[in-house]
């Protein structure tokens, strides 16, 4: 695990992290929610902008929410408690309804959080429309609270629903929500203070722990924004939330989850995107994407867990890797007779022995271009073997442009490095290395980093099969494709430096 993360970090030095594709410029994204075949995210801006994606990789703007409301703006009660702005929403499906909470600040810290209720996120679907349920919580401008940045949380232990909110000017607060109405369950009770000196709060739950993720630092200053995502955890939803050093988040605690790195400055507004099968992602925005001229953009990244704490994973970057099975420790290879690096010794028998005597000149690395002429033409089987630094064991993982992808990543071509030979799924649910990459769905690979830092590799499609399948080390020397099972190491792979 530790080695895996170290290896991944090292690879970042050689290749840029991939960002999402399409129109991803936004600020303060909600949790990403899938409705039907599409992913939706809402963000700060006039009318609450809507962004939509068919695959979680390529995004497009799809107007905004408020035009579907009477007057195209928050309800009068919301405006009266807060103001006219529409910022930083969050959304969750509860039962058969979507609750969409949004910030309606006036002159901060006079602010309110309003609630919209709808049955579908798809504007084209029958029954699309939102009902303004009025203000849920608010801050009067004098109290130690600024009621913006809602984060909604469903407690899996008992089904209760909670809302965290707040920004600087005081506390991050927690209230329980009625699962039927989306409004406060106990409006007469005072909110619970759970953190301070932060904003963009949200709670997630895992294995008996409640994790409070917040954003520290300042936003809205481009590449000078000091936003970072911080975390603490508690055994009860109401806290106390302590960071890794034991500092209460009510006293400003919060261990770093994600800060600026690479070409991205100022991550904030964590959102959990649980894809099932043990695959979790998180969304955030960066205050400045240097590759997009420093604008604020959405991103989706793997969510890992280590020692009971969330860890921000890295989306796969283009590079050359060895694909090592977690189960067997053997490496995926083109099934050809390997040529020992530096030449064969001992005639292939045991006892050929190591080199002896004085040090000799360095042996150059073996590249595909050097030895691939000896390989059979046409399609070749795959297999697994102890990694020996040989050319047929090194895989070039390359993003494929305009081919779509999955949340956070494009599809990848997986080819024997230095050749056109590309890994493909076959109609019988097995694998082959085709002589050329032609962009067929069976040659497009989805690569997800799993919670433990290992990877799942899945072809976009398996010919003739409707079930998604993942690369599997069914034997020490034998790969195949199987429906993914998060419980088995057969389906976990390491992408390691070759």
């Amino acid at each position: 695990m530790k080695a895996t993360l170290t290896g991944a970090a090292a690879l970042l030095l050689a290749a840029r992290v991939l960002a999402l594709d399409g129109d991803v410029g936004l600020h303060d994204p909600s949790t990403i929610v899938r409705d039907g075949s599409r992913y939706y995210v809402y963000s700060t801006g006039a009318g609450l902008p809507v962004s939509v994606s068919d695959d979680g990789w390529t995004w497009r703007r799809a107007g905004s929410l408020m035009p579907s409301m009477p007057g195209g703006k928050p309800a009068p009660e919301v405006i009266a408690r807060g103001g006219n702005n529409t910022w930083a929403p969050d959304v969750m499906k509860v039962g058969d309804k979507y609750f969409l909470y949004y910030s309606a600040p006036g002159t901060q810290p006079k602010s309110a959080i309003g609630l919209l209720v709808g049955k579908t996120l798809d504007p084209q679907a029958p029954g699309y429309g939102w009902t303004d349920a009025g203000p849920v919580v608010w801050s009067d401008g004098t109290e130690d609270s600024n009621a913006i940045d809602p984060g909604v949380f469903r407690d899996p232990t008992n089904g209760s629903l909670w809302l965290t909110y707040g920004s600087y000017f005081g506390y991050i607060r927690l209230v329980e929500i009625d699962t039927k109405s989306g409004l406060r369950r106990y409006p007469q009770r005072p909110p619970i203070n759970i953190a301070i000196n932060s904003e963009a709060s949200i709670i997630v739950f895992r294995e008996g722990w409640y994790y409070l993720l917040v954003t520290h630092g300042s936003c809205c200053a481009g590449a000078n924004s000091t936003y970072s995502i911080r975390v603490g955890r508690a055994r009860a939803v109401s806290g106390p939330y302590l960071d890794r050093s034991g500092v209460d988040m009510l006293r400003g605690g919060g261990s770093l989850f994600l800060g600026s790195s690479g070409r991205y400055v100022g991550p904030g507004h964590f959102g959990l995107l649980d894809l099932g099968d043990g695959v979790q992602k998180f969304s955030c925005h960066y205050e400045a994407d240097l590759d997009r001229g420093g604008v604020s953009v959405l991103d989706i990244r793997p969510l890992l867990w280590r020692d009971g704490w969330p860890v921000a994973g890295e989306n796969v970057v283009a590079g050359t890797y060895r694909l090592e099975s977690v189960r067997t420790g053997t490496a995926l290879e083109l099934a050809v007779e390997g040529a020992p690096v530096g030449g064969r010794r001992g005639g292939g028998r045991r006892g050929g022995g190591p080199g002896r005597g004085e040090a000799a000149p360095p042996i150059p690395s073996q590249e595909g271009a050097q030895v691939s002429a000896n390989w059979p033409a046409g399609s070749v089987e795959t297999r697994m073997a102890p990694y020996l630094l040989q050319a047929q064991q090194k895989w070039a993982v390359t993003p494929v442009a305009n081919a779509g992808g999955s949340p956070g990543s494009p599809y990848f071509r997986v080819s024997v490095a230095g050749t056109e030979r590309s890994l493909a799924a076959t109609g019988d649910g097995e694998l082959i290395v085709a002589p050329m990459f032609v962009g067929a769905p069976e040659q497009l690979w989805r690569i997800d980093q799993l919670a433990d830092g290992t990877y799942r590799l899945m072809p976009k499609a398996v010919p003739g099969r409707s079930t998604a399948m993942a690369l599997s080390a069914i034997g020490g020397s034998s790969p195949t494709l199987e429906p993914f099972d998060a419980a088995t190491d057969r389906h976990r792979w390491l992408l390691r430096t070759p």
């Binding site: 050809v336 034997g475 020397s477």
Partner: protein, 225 residues
């Protein structure tokens, strides 16, 4: 590495084999002549009854093309189609070699025990092995799963399904076939195992569509495919 297994005790229970217990070597009876009509796969699915031909001397090269060359040579007529009986002989390079039916007490078949017990060589040799697996119904999406020391090629019902090359130890489910149908009735599993030196053995079982061992099958070496 010293070929330790050659120095290891070698014995089988049947009269076919030469007991070395009397020579002061501890007895390790992993192999014996079958005493029952059939032998069910064990709790982990391992096939524990095999027909094995006495070893054929080969050059012991283990890389891909060398193994292909070794296995492709015809040593005796019908070597990848014959269904031999216990005690049958074939002639290879002018010398008679005998087929032996054996049961193993372990998950694997120890070919050192087999060959050395017959006072046959265990280095630079090729073993032909075969078993007949009876299934009560068709089992779709099954897989033959083997381990071998060292290189090996495997056939199921006449079709090659697994090949493992290079010097290697026997690892359970090392070589696993693509999906096959284990047919109702008798299925022929055949293997060619090449050893260069040191220990030599193999193991085999079938896995179901969920990669779990198939246990409801049995070996019957007297059956006719």
């Amino acid at each position: 590495m010293m070929p330790r297994a050659i120095l290891a005790p070698v014995v089988v229970g049947a009269a076919l084999y030469v007991s070395v217990a009397a020579q002061g070597v501890p007895v390790m009876p992993t192999l014996s002549s079958p005493k029952t009509a059939t032998k069910p796969a064990d709790a982990d699915g391992f096939l524990q009854r095999w027909m094995i031909l006495e070893p054929i001397a080969v050059d012991g090269q283990l890389f891909d093309s060398a193994v292909r060359t070794t296995v492709a040579r015809e040593y005796f007529a019908g070597q990848i189609t014959t269904i031999p009986k216990d005690g049958e002989t074939v002639t290879v390079d002018g010398k008679p070699l005998q087929w032996h039916a054996v049961d193993t007490t372990n998950y694997n078949v120890n070919l050192i025990h087999f060959a050395a017990g017959l006072k046959k060589p265990t280095s630079n040799v090729l073993f032909w092995a075969l078993t007949l697996v009876r299934a009560r119904q068709d089992i779709a999406d099954a897989r033959l799963a083997i381990g071998s020391n060292a290189a090996s090629v495997w056939w199921l019902n006449g079709r090659e399904v697994i090949s493992l090359f290079n010097d290697r130890q026997t690892v359970i489910d090392d070589g696993v076939s693509k999906r096959v149908t284990l047919k109702k009735g008798v299925n022929v599993v055949r293997a060619a195992i090449i050893n260069a030196g040191g220990a030599t053995d193999f193991c085999a079982r079938f896995l179901d569509a969920n990669a779990r061992p198939i246990t409801g099958i049995a070996v019957d070496l007297t059956s006719t495919p």
